[in-house]
């Protein structure tokens, strides 16, 4: 049964998680955006702030309310927490009779995600499927994912670039959480409906000053998600999309988007499911130590498809087409799921505001002149 936590008691949740040894990560306002960082108390959350997003544009605005979670998703995603941007894997040291390899210790972290949205929980599940259960498991990713507490937050608003409803990934978190909060704000009453998704979640909830939810509160929370679903800024018709995209690899729209795309790679960096990496080996000046580093890579760089003789995808058209068709079509063949969760980050954080929903829809239509 869901329970109710007064908004004034939200800090009890933060402290309960910290008390269990979790590093609590959540939304924090910094540098004009809501980013993910350490949350030490509920007052660290971006109270009263809303994000206004559009293609290539993001602004934070203060509102006349004291909502804790009135914003949608920002430039960061939980990808940074588990599939970290840069990490060293091992060092090699020269020795008199050869060399020794010193692997970096397996990462250990006990983290609580405070405020993961439904789309983000889906994104984490997609990365798990690839990086833990896929053909090439990443033990360091798996280690970072092994001790995680998820506090989901059901979105009260949909952003202008949101389309989770089209992708079937939100706005309501259905699973993949320990606790799920829906913020209910009414005159004189500010509270959270708390759904319990696991035994760990139940144990944490038992430490909080909660009471059982009444049917009105459960209904109010459902209405929040319904209103948000109806307010999506974008939509994408996914019926037959995979086939429509894969059939239209020579569509003129690819040439059109190539006149706008900068191949800067921002879309892939902010995408919560993009997982490609590059390995780099370095040596020191003395020639005594070498090390291997892994970092995020983007299919928009020339180096990404560089094989003997040059880059396979030398044109921006080829790179954009690769990214979009892989994300929305090829992933189904490769991983049994779409690579897109409809979070809209690639639209907002594209410097020139290229909209994946618009491009996919245009490519999916028959060519005008055949």
């Amino acid at each position: 049964m869901p329970v109710v936590l007064a908004a004034a008691d939200l800090d009890a949740l933060v402290q309960a998680l910290a008390g269990r040894g979790y590093r609590v990560l959540g939304p924090v306002a910094r540098d004009g955006a809501i980013v993910i960082d350490d949350v030490r108390r509920a007052a660290d959350l971006p109270i009263g702030l809303e994000d206004v997003q559009g293609p290539g544009r993001y602004r934070l605005e203060r509102r006349e309310h004291d909502a804790f979670f009135a914003f949608t998703v920002g430039p960061h995603s939980w990808k940074q927490t588990f599939h970290v941007p840069v990490e060293r894997l091992f060092q090699i040291r020269r020795q008199q009779d050869g060399f020794s390899v010193i692997p970096d210790a397996a990462p250990r972290q006990r983290v609580a995600l405070l405020g993961a949205r439904a789309c983000e929980i889906h994104a984490i599940a997609i990365q798990d499927r690839i990086l833990i259960h896929g053909e090439h498991p990443d033990p360091r990713y798996a280690a970072r994912r092994s001790d995680v507490f998820v506090v989901a937050v059901n979105c009260r608003r949909a952003g202008n670039t949101c389309f989770c409803a089209s992708m079937g990934t939100g706005p309501r978190a259905e699973r993949g959480f320990d606790l799920a909060l829906t913020e209910l704000i009414e005159p004189g009453e500010h509270r959270f409906l708390v759904e319990i998704g696991s035994d760990d979640g139940a144990a944490v909830a038992a430490e909080l000053p909660v009471r059982p939810a009444n049917p009105e509160e459960i209904g109010a929370a459902a209405s929040v998600s319904e209103r948000t679903a109806a307010a999506m800024g974008r939509r994408l018709d996914t019926s037959g999309l995979k086939e429509r995209l894969q059939k239209n690899l020579e569509h003129p729209r690819w040439d059109d988007v190539a006149t706008r795309c900068l191949a800067c790679g921002n879309c892939t960096m902010v995408c919560p499911t993009c997982f490609c990496t590059e390995f780099e080996d370095t040596t020191d000046l003395a020639g005594e130590t070498a090390e291997r580093t892994k970092r995020w890579e983007s299919c928009f760089t020339l180096g990404f498809s560089h094989v003997h003789g040059g880059s396979v995808r030398s044109s921006i058209k080829a790179r954009y087409r690769q990214w979009l068709t892989h994300k929305l079509a090829g992933w189904h063949d490769q991983f049994g799921t779409s690579g897109c969760v409809g979070c809209g980050r690639c639209i907002t954080w594209c410097p020139v505001g290229i909209d994946i929903t618009e491009e996919a829809a245009a490519v999916g239509l028959p060519k005008k002149d055949g």
Partner: protein
């Protein structure tokens, strides 16, 4: 496993038309400077020592652009004496800010600046080293990034190919977790079309990138115009931004011309 060969490689630093800032990055290596001095024989480095060892050199770092006939001859000699030639900085890789002369009458400049312009013996253009001799590796920037310099030297000392990413600054910005200054603050930024290497230095301090590393691989400056204008930059601003340290790098030169074309009709209207 054998230890590295005993004979230390000879490193030389050569200067052409430049401000010396890039070669000073070598002295700026501070913590690594002694290690470097241990790993190589510094054969020629006027900023550090007046002593000069004769060539040939294993690694030559070349700073500056070619602006005189004497430069043209000297860079050929440097090339002939160098096993590996690495150009460092915007002057050496793109002609530098002094390449603005390429688009004007250099004789007129000389008349304005010098009391006795007839003493000035200069070429009409400032050109990158690679226009004159084969260059093995190039390090961009005004100035270069000392970590990249060390990375290249370390690689060459190990007979390893250096890894120098040529993608956009945006990739490095995102790896650092920065909030995009253009999307979130409306600050015009050349990051999307600029060559990485600085570690997204300016955006990390909430300033727009001004392109001192020059054009990234497959640059698409025309596409960026929309965003720069949306961020409040005028065509004059954009043209001026492209007309700095890498003004003569072909993609930035084209970008500048595209903006100038859009200004001129307005000027005509006013006149």
């Amino acid at each position: 496993m054998p230890t590295r060969k005993k004979k230390k490689p000879k490193l030389a630093v050569f200067k052409f038309a430049s401000c010396d800032g890039c070669q000073l990055s070598l002295l700026d290596c501070e913590d690594e400077l002694l290690l470097l001095a241990d790993a190589v024989r510094i054969a020629s480095f006027a900023e550090a020592s007046s002593g000069v060892l004769r060539g040939p050199y294993d690694i030559s770092l070349v700073e500056g652009s070619i602006t005189t006939l004497h430069d043209v001859e000297r860079i050929r000699e440097v090339r002939a004496q160098s096993r590996v030639l690495v150009t460092i900085g915007a002057c050496a890789t793109a002609g530098g800010v002094q390449a603005l002369r390429n688009f004007r009458d250099v004789k007129e400049f000389a008349r304005i600046v010098y009391a006795r312009p007839e003493y000035i013996d200069t070429l009409a253009t400032s050109t990158p080293i690679a226009d004159h001799v084969k260059v093995d590796y190039e390090l961009r920037g005004c100035p270069i990034d000392k970590r990249q310099l060390l990375a290249v030297l370390s690689a060459l000392l190990s007979d390893r190919k250096p890894s120098i990413a040529s993608h956009s600054v945006c990739v490095q910005c995102k790896l650092r977790g920065n909030v995009c200054v253009m999307v979130a603050h409306g600050t015009p930024c050349l990051g999307p079309v600029t060559h990485a290497g600085c570690g997204a230095l300016c955006p990390t301090y909430h300033r727009g990138c001004y392109g001192c590393f020059g054009p990234a691989e497959t640059t698409h400056t025309g596409g960026l115009e929309w965003a720069l204008v949306a961020a409040g930059a005028s065509h004059e601003d954009i043209a001026r931004t492209y007309a700095t340290f890498n003004a003569a790098a072909p993609p930035f030169r084209r970008a500048q011309e595209e903006q100038l074309v859009q200004i001129r009709p307005k000027e005509g209207g006013r006149g």
